[in-house]
Symmetry: C2
Subunit: 298 residues, 2 copies
């Protein structure tokens, strides 16, 4: 028996897969650049949890928006997420061979194709957002595009990754880690929530409530990830574990201690849920998702 | 004494530099991700010819559009162009140490920073296009965004680069080279021209005339580049020459012979200029630019 949350997660993941498979360029139609299109599809289709599309849909439902439009935005965000994983896995970055239980893109293809597939996926995200299916009003589409660019760029995801690769061990104190994670993973997760308000042209305080909710649960999920990295079972999680610990990279559970990190995540989740009060029962999925972050096993 | 074309080129290059310097994130304000922002600025400011911004402005003037908006679009396209050069120069791609007479980004910084600076510049291009300064009508901005995403993505610039790195020597016949160049450099140059029509909400046949003009002169410029690569003076051009020839990569002058390639470029320029008839004297800058492509020395 699955809970309503599990059923919603599974259904949104399936719909996102179907939509991405339809939206992404078809390798049958591509010429000699087939390899590039295959790498884009390999990285994007199949094994993702579709956490960000789930958040877009749940936040859109909280604002009484249109589900199909939310799926479109979710697909665009997945393209950005997938590209960031491809580039993060490269030898010059984290140098990972395995991702979601499969060879990383530069292992399954080659480095040059991996760089290009990431680049092309980023462009494709903005192409998806520009489609009328995303929202009939061009003003909404351009706001989404601007928000995604900001969340993905130098003052968001890319900035966080730059911080992560540049900092010395000594710099990695609690404040630094929180700032880095907010940029590296928090910005895109927060935008996924904010997009629900943008899509339904909600009033400003709803937009900012969803943004804050996203930043809090983004951090809570990251702590859950880091705890899994320390305590989890490699087979269950599907990627090489304890890598951050091996490399001496600070994570909140390492710096704060496991118990304090767990309490901090608990506090973040309560704070996130409190932001949802103004949405009433429409935000139930978002509430359950926040609580779920504390019990993650993979 | 400079010709009106040279004066226009110099002025647009200067205005583009000033605009990009103001638009790009400020390293003084960035935190520990300063290095990323510095790499983005290093790659984008300083040494570019600003050929694409020139085309946007000239095409916008041909359509009686607003010059300042064209400069904004030109700045966005330069971010895409700069990111593509950073990534093309990486060791896994063309492995170049020198670009525009300066160390490439992965030499001046490091590989990880180069990958991220390229990624962040691509995001920034879409952020610039989304600004109201680009055009007051959001529908125009989203059309520009869609067009840029298409030109930069798998069926444009990235697709062309994928073709270029994947093909064997045997495949590199005339038809293959023309298709590859159309994608790798032609798509973005053609979009630069098309943007003039999009910005001024011109009728469809003006948009398609500028697009065709762009494809033709893009190819003519590429041939001029390839001829310089064979005949040019390394110091004058500011990059390592004859690299394509060394690596046995086919270019049109190599495959067709120098004289036939020159005739082909001449034909392309005539064809491009013919497309401008419907714009009258407003298109004089575009006409002169086309003719100039035949006399390039750097």
């Amino acid at each position: 028996m699955s809970t309503p949350l599990q059923a919603a997660i599974a259904s949104i993941a399936e719909e996102t897969d179907t939509l991405l498979a339809a939206l992404l360029p078809d390798p049958e139609l591509a010429g000699d650049e087939r390899c590039l299109v295959e790498a884009m599809r390999y990285a994007t289709l199949g094994a993702g949890k579709r956490f960000r599309p789930f958040l877009v849909v749940a936040a859109t439902l909280a604002c009484s928006g249109v589900r199909q439009r939310a799926l479109h935005v979710g697909a665009a965000i997945e393209c950005i997420h997938a590209y960031s994983l491809i580039h993060d896995d490269l030898p010059a970055m984290d140098d990972d061979d395995l991702r979601r239980g499969r060879p990383t893109v530069h292992k399954a293809f080659d480095e040059a194709t991996a760089i290009l597939a990431g680049d092309a996926l980023q462009a494709y995200a903005f192409q998806i957002l520009a489609m009328p299916e995303t929202h009939p009003d061009p003003e909404v589409r351009i706001r989404l595009s601007s928000g995604l660019a900001r969340a993905a760029g130098a003052l968001g995801m890319c900035g966080g990754q730059a911080l992560d690769i540049a900092a010395s061990q000594a710099e990695r104190d609690m404040g630094w880690i929180i700032r880095m994670q907010r940029l590296k993973t928090g910005a895109l997760i927060a935008f996924s929530c904010e997009a629900g308000a943008l899509l339904s042209e909600s009033v400003e305080h709803r937009r900012s409530a969803l943004l804050s909710y996203g930043l809090d649960i983004g951090m809570a999920f990251q702590i859950a990830d880091d705890l899994l990295d320390i305590e989890g079972n490699e087979e269950e999680v599907g990627k090489r574990l304890s890598k951050d610990t091996e490399q001496g990279k600070g994570t909140l559970p390492v710096v704060m201690g496991i118990e304090v990190a767990r309490e901090y995540a608990d506090m973040l989740v309560k704070q996130a849920v409190a932001k949802l009060d103004l949405f009433g029962p429409n935000a139930d999925l978002l509430r359950e998702a926040a609580l779920f972050s504390l019990q993650r096993r993979n």
